[in-house]
């Protein structure tokens, strides 16, 4: 009994442990600050897209809610942080970021009741509809939002009163990366918690989930609200780091791009949105530099290829690569220890 109890608790602890690959991922992510100083602007965009994709992965990959309307939260929070800065109400980015996230989460909470109704197709339509409606409202109330010209004259203060956003995007990138990392930590806690486990169960089998006493709707509302808050942070980051906000924050393409990012990166393991965002951004940048006019053609082409080959197969190929890297890394780690042991034996 005691042995089995140990096995159970060690299994549960192992589930949530940071793998060497994960640690390597984040070490590399922060190393890019020094490694690629000329790429701050695109890396910053990738970090924002990654956070945005993370928000969709939380509802799609863990709770099974498909959405084409994450731009609603992105755009609302983007305009919110722009407008409060424009009017000089909140200029400090961190405070404004938190407020914007709360506003987006509030919208998520309210609209979650619409999303709970119906099947995947209805959800696609409802979420898309909400984003389109907000976009049109932003267009209509151009006296507040600046309409088609965008929101101008946004004065963003230094982060925590210390670090002003520079034109090379250095501080902006670090700021976005830190926000992404903190949000990732929260998301990681969520998915390994009892709450996260219950989400996976109701994605797998909602009938059974309610038959073991899980209040399915309440859980869906909760995660949808959290996801909206994350999407809102991404929107606020974009406004803050560009000092600009225009109607395209609500655009359909923005929500649709997000699904593409998750198709590239995969869902349900948190890193899909991050990896997908990096690939998508750099692919877009690379193709656009080759053929400035037809880049969308090639993006579309790559997507068709990915879907036809199947992500599983790509995962199999990369799994072999990952295993090799892992073995290599392990050797590197164990070798100094072995040397140390030998030295101690020698004494």
């Amino acid at each position: 009994m005691a042995a089995a109890a140990n096995e159970v608790s060690s299994y549960l602890a192992r589930r949530a442990r940071w793998s060497p690959l994960e640690i390597a991922f984040w070490v590399f992510a922060f190393a890019t600050i020094w490694l690629f100083p000329g790429k701050y602007l695109i890396m910053k965009d990738a970090a924002i897209l990654a956070l945005f994709a993370l928000s969709l992965d939380l509802i799609l990959g863990y709770a099974g809610i498909i959405s084409l309307g994450q731009a609603a939260f992105f755009g609302l929070a983007g305009y919110f942080s722009g407008i409060v800065a424009q009017h000089g109400l909140i200029n400090e980015p961190v405070v404004s970021l938190i407020c914007a996230a709360l506003v987006a989460a509030a919208l998520g909470f309210v609209t979650s009741f619409l999303v709970l109704r119906g099947s995947d197709l209805t959800r696609l339509m409802v979420t898309m509809g909400v984003a389109l409606m907000l976009g049109e409202l932003a267009n209509r109330f151009s006296n507040i939002t600046g309409g088609a010209d965008g929101l101008q004259g946004i004065d963003i203060g230094p982060v925590l009163g210390l670090f002003r956003f520079d034109m090379y995007g250095h501080n902006g990138y670090i700021y976005c990366l830190i926000v992404l990392f903190l949000c990732f930590l929260v998301a990681r806690r969520i998915v390994y918690s009892p709450f996260g486990l219950s989400l996976r169960s109701l994605k797998g089998n909602p009938l059974r989930a309610s038959a073991i006493g899980i209040p399915v709707n309440r859980r869906l509302i909760a995660i949808y609200t959290v996801s909206a808050g994350f999407a809102g942070m991404a929107g606020a980051l974009l406004t803050q780091t560009t000092s600009f906000c225009s109607l395209d924050v609500f655009s359909f393409e923005r929500s649709a791009d997000l699904l593409l990012v998750l198709i590239i990166g995969g869902t349900g393991y948190l890193y899909g949105g991050l990896i997908g965002a990096v690939i998508y951004k750099f692919l877009q940048d690379w193709i656009a530099s080759l053929t400035p006019q037809y880049w969308q053609f090639w993006i579309g082409f790559v997507l068709v290829v990915i879907v036809l080959i199947g992500r599983e197969r790509i995962e199999q190929w990369t799994a072999a690569l990952r295993a090799t890297i892992y073995r290599f890394g392990k050797q590197l780690l164990t070798r100094p220890a072995a040397v140390g042991d030998a030295a101690r034996k020698g004494n």
């Binding site: 589930r15 709450f195 169960s201 859980r219």
Partner: protein, 249 residues
């Protein structure tokens, strides 16, 4: 006081009466079986009891409390859990995670989004106890989807049991289990603690007569008879509508 009581339960689907005037009474600690030929309305009764369907008329009392208007998950919290005739499991989770999920949920940790699953020893101890009781300890780290069918049936019951029900509804627990795995399953059902009341819905007469101490017979949506196994076995009406059918076959 009976643990479960239904009073004049009725369910219509449009013009069709699926179940009418079902008044059941199940005593605390009983091993009660609900039998009936195909189409008699057994599944409808289960769905009414668990709250998947709302009755057109009548009421349901669990330990004296009226639960007719409660939603399925609320009934679970009050102590009624069920298994399904066709496995309803979480195929991507392991048995350990599945049981951990139900235990966390029952202990009210289900909305805890910060701590890890099983960070409390109360949870892990109970997971171990349930996995061992249902003979799942050796496969607890496998994905549910790849478990042998018999193990999946055991997990189906373990998952309901993890809700610590006062009343456990078993919907054809042995259906489709190959003979090699059947004994293990029946033994496990036999070893369910005496304080858990069991309502068994079953086709398999061997299982019904070896397990139940009371049997209700449902025919054409209504209760035909309710009594001890010997009485039911002797009753000519039951023979005619139910057992007779099997004897002919």
């Amino acid at each position: 006081m009976p643990i479960l009581q239904t009073l004049g339960l009725e369910k219509r689907f449009g013009g069709i009466v699926a179940v009418h005037d079902v008044s059941l009474s199940i005593e605390q600690g009983a091993r009660h079986a609900l039998i009936g030929p195909n189409g008699a309305g057994k599944t409808t009764v289960i769905n009414l009891l668990t709250g998947v369907l709302r009755p057109t008329a009548g009421s349901i009392l669990l330990a004296g409390q009226d639960i007719t208007a409660l939603r399925p998950h609320q009934r679970v919290r009050l102590g009624m859990a069920r298994t399904f005739q066709i496995n309803q499991l979480f195929l991507d989770l392991t048995p350990l995670e599945t049981v951990g999920l139900a235990v966390s949920e029952r202990l009210g940790l289900g909305s805890d989004w910060w701590r890890l699953v099983g960070s409390k020893s109360a949870v892990t101890d109970e997971i171990v106890e349930i996995l061992e009781r249902f003979r799942l300890a050796d496969v607890m780290q496998e994905r549910t989807a790849i478990l042998p069918y018999g193990k999946q049936r055991l997990l189906e019951i373990a998952l309901a049991f993890a809700c610590r029900p006062k009343l456990l509804l078993l919907d054809e627990p042995a259906a489709g289990v190959p003979d090699a795995e059947r004994q293990e399953l029946l033994a496990t059902i036999d070893e369910l603690p005496a304080d858990v009341t069991v309502l068994l819905i079953e086709h398999d007469m061997d299982l019904v007569f070896s397990f139940a101490d009371r049997i209700s017979v449902l025919v054409n949506g209504g209760l035909l008879l309710d009594g001890a196994p010997e009485d039911v076995a002797r009753d000519p009406r039951v023979k005619a509508v139910y057992l007779g059918e099997e004897l002919d076959a």
